[in-house]
Amino acid sequence: MSLNNMLPFISTAIMLLFTISVFQRYAVRRNPAFLYWGIGLAMFGAGSFAEAFLVLKWNSAIFVVWYLFGAALNAAWLGHGTLALLVQKRWVTVLTVLLVIGSVIAGIMMLQLTLNSGAYETGVAISNTYREIMPEGAKVRLTTPFFNIYGLIMLVGGALYSAFLFWRKRVLPNRVIGNVLIAAGALSIGFASSLARLGYGEYLYIGELVAAVMMYSGFLMAAAPSKVPAKATAPEKAPSPA
């Protein structure tokens, strides 16, 4: 197995740790943002695992998992988690309903496809052969730019906005750096996915690994409690005689 084909296994392991961390945080705080991030990260991890599997062996169900979760949906759910932190609950609810409906529709479209397994090649990255495996004009492929644009705007835009707010106020540098790392990681996978769209699928694995490492690092840094300086206390006055 080549080094490039080992990368998805490493990405899967990192995303598993990341997903567990985020769901643990949701279990404690019950903030919906952590639930949506957890769902997005689980999808990212499932997509990475499917990629790693498909290098070794063909399986149509695993291919569906790879495209639906790895290529189409995970960016949107990750971005949705960031949206939940920054926007009023009413709008988050509306967009959540739309995202769930869109995800279900994409899933139904994916399950209705007749895949051309004859185009599969063992040892070749699935990002280089998926176009031949999926039927020409598959409608589900038209949905991925919508999910990815939404995810890109929300995840990267939200991270940059948060970083800018803290930077401008000159406070909580861990959150500034953390959000910069998250944005860099998201851009890494966005860039690699764009290259895959243009036919350069060999960069997808390294893009995913960089995204996994940077986003997890950013999460750990942004979530780390910062040391708040102790307030200066005035010297106590000596009690006056009654």
């Binding site: 730019p145 644009i149 940059l160 406070v171 861990n174 500034v176 851009l187 769209r197 840094m221």
Partner: protein, 52 residues
């Protein structure tokens, strides 16, 4: 993890090349790349950019 400890402070240093120059440059660069990627995705959707 000791590297992370230097960021566990409440306020940024008053004068810092990293926070005064590097960080805002990165924020601006990432914003430009984000817009470029969005335009690229819109180009694919509208058929202006040929995709494989």
């Amino acid at each position: 993890m000791n590297f992370l400890n230097r960021f566990k402070i409440h306020k940024m240093p008053q004068q810092s090349f990293f926070y005064d120059r590097i960080v805002p440059t990165l924020l601006l660069l990432f914003a430009i790349v984000t817009v470029a990627l969005i335009l690229f995705a819109v180009g694919i959707l509208t058929g202006l950019i040929a995709w494989a």
